[in-house]
């Protein structure tokens, strides 16, 4: 049953409070129920249920053939997943942490992203690469990279990043049904954040969302930073500034229409992301907005991003993560004139 069918059948509006990790787990399990070609594998995703428990119970429910552990080799996981798609399966694989996906980079960039194009569409690669990513959890080195730029730059990949349990559920379902490979970035810090989830809700990949309306300035962001943007908007509101928050959700292909319409409406933009800023998704968003909304801009597009340094050790990470103050500073700098 596709989610569209589910949607048609199920009584909508029945929601439940779930953490993001639980929502993802539910999405996996619903997808596996709906489609026998979906399978889950990776490191520790079987009996253990994943180091973040996102695959908890899947092996027990669906058996060893549908959810299993592999030898410890990321290139092997991604490379064999590619071969499985050639056999009609839809693998959903987990890279244990962001930085541990790098050994699979060759497979992701040269095969996952390009195989459909190479074969003129004869071989599609409907797989999902789940990557717990980003910091803010006190993790030691290699456990907190924001690696989205590497994937977003790679043509052929679709890169998705939810910021709410609802989106986590709906976007993961959509990613699994997607005909193309999806890099699904899960903000680790949000795994334990809870929210209402309607499992009949259908999300479309490629659609940004207005997380808060506002008229003076648009905060363009995704993942963990959405919450920061919303908090900043709240503070700004108390100071009389109406701040719009746009959750990009699909980093690439990105929803230019929604983004440009939003920024043209407010005339000011701040792009917020946790990753190092240089040659990043934030750069792209800023450059695109700068190019396509130029005549509407009352101020330069500002970026609030991670510093251009290797991710900080636990004791120092609070200095690097974008926070409300930094966002407010950026907003303040946007040529407000004498108001």
């Amino acid at each position: 049953m596709t989610i569209a069918e589910l949607h048609a059948e199920a009584p909508s509006g029945t929601t439940e409070t779930l953490t993001m990790a639980a929502a993802l787990n539910r999405a996996l399990s619903d997808a596996m129920l709906a489609d026998p070609s979906v399978l889950v594998f990776g490191e520790d995703v079987g009996t253990l249920g994943g180091v973040f428990r996102v695959t908890d119970g899947l092996a027990a429910t669906f058996g060893e053939k549908r959810c299993f552990d592999t030898p410890l080799a990321e290139s092997g996981i991604i490379g064999t997943a590619v071969g499985m798609t050639m056999g009609g399966l839809r693998p959903v694989v987990e890279m244990q942490f962001d930085a541990f996906a790098y050994p699979a980079f060759e497979q992701i960039v040269s095969h996952v992203a390009k195989l459909a194009n190479r074969t003129r569409g004869a071989v599609r690669v409907p797989m999902v690469i789940r990557i717990p990513f980003g910091g803010g959890i006190g993790g030691v080195e290699h456990h907190c990279d924001s690696s989205e730029a590497y994937y977003a730059h790679t043509a052929g990949l679709t890169v998705v990043c939810p910021s709410t349990p609802q989106d986590a559920y709906s976007l993961l379902r959509a990613a699994i049904e997607h005909p193309d490979p999806v890099v699904f970035l899960e903000p680790k810090k949000l795994y334990w954040s809870a929210g209402e989830v309607d499992t009949t809700h259908v999300a479309r990949i490629g659609e940004a969302a207005i997380a808060r309306s506002g008229t003076d300035v648009t905060l363009v962001t995704y993942g963990t930073s959405v919450g920061i943007a919303l908090d900043a908007a709240e503070v700004a509101a108390s100071e009389g500034r109406s701040v719009q928050v746009l959750d990009v959700r699909t980093l690439t292909p990105c929803d230019d229409e929604t983004i440009f319409a939003a920024v043209r409406g407010t005339g000011r933009a701040v792009v917020i992301a946790e990753a190092a800023g240089f040659a990043s998704v934030a750069s792209e968003l800023a450059a695109r907005i700068g190019e396509y909304c130029f005549e509407f801009l009352a101020a330069p597009v500002r970026r609030v991003t991670g510093f251009d340094i290797p991710y900080a050790p636990p004791k120092l990470e609070r200095f690097t993560l974008p926070d409300v103050d930094r966002v407010l500073d950026a907003i303040d700098s946007l040529n407000w004139g004498d108001e």
Binding site: V82, A116, R118, A122
Partner: protein, 365 residues
Amino acid sequence: MTAPAETLLPRDEPVRLIDPSGTLRDDAEYPTPDVADLLAAHAALVTGRRINEQCFALVRQGRLAVYPSSHGQEACQVAAALALADGDWMFPTYRDSVSVITRGVSPAEALVLLRGDWHGGYDPHEYRVAPQATPLATQLLHAVGRAHAATLQGEDMVVLAMCGDGATSEGDFHEALNFAAVFHLPVVFFVQNNEFAISVPLSRQTAAPSLAHKAIGYGMPGERVDGNDVAAVLAVLRSAVSRARDGGGPTLVEAHTYRMLAHTNADDDTRYRERSEVAAWVERDPLLRSRAYLREVGALDDVTEERFTADAERVAAALRDAMNAEVEPDPEDLFRFVYAERPQHLQRQWMGLQDEIRRDTEGVE
């Protein structure tokens, strides 16, 4: 932690069924393929050689962008295709065009990549032949994944995963063999050890007694075979394929052969190897050996030889025609297959390009 170690080790000497003079040497473990099979294999060898020669010529004429020839390796090329059943899969490299064609892909489709029209020219699902892989050893993992899918879905299928000696040094080689062994998958890894990786000799790839000695480290059997003896390659591959088909898991087969030409037309092998070394391999030519044997047992007469040659000529002619035909690739293809559904930004880029093309053709500035 079950198989007795010894049974996983390859023999000290590569398996050989027909010696360079064409004489048969029976082998207790590997039955010689019957004459009809070897005759068919010989026909394929003749065609394979002709394809190699034709492609070499086409590069000189600027009709192919590049050609990594399997000249001298045709016994491996042909046996790889003939060892498989229709429902099996083959995962070849850039050098395995003759295997791909022997498996049934038309030369015109097979050579699209090397001609430069597109990154690949045949539908992998139609022939059960993966795209010819350029990034070394990466396709071995795809092969293993395909075999895993087959096992999970109960498909009767064996997967042949091909690579060169150089590729065995890559991490993906290791991960592929390991996954295959751990999941006990129906994969035959077929390494064509042609002694060179571009300019780098085998001694720089490994210090092992042989490449087939790597098998035991994964818990699968390894075997070595004389790669210029089509009967032996066929026998050893068939044995591995049938073990895989019967649930016996993966095998690593190393064929000892030699790359007779430079790596590709763009390479100059006089910079790194002696002519005498190459010359020494001329007499070990796989076609000579197969021919001598079939002649000796009376299975190959002049008429049949002429027919094989004529068949090969026809393939070459069709190949020439296909490569000489002017194909004008469509620039919109650049945007058609990146995603299943064309996203906004690619459509915008295509519209921009279309505009440029229109202005160019209209001569408008």
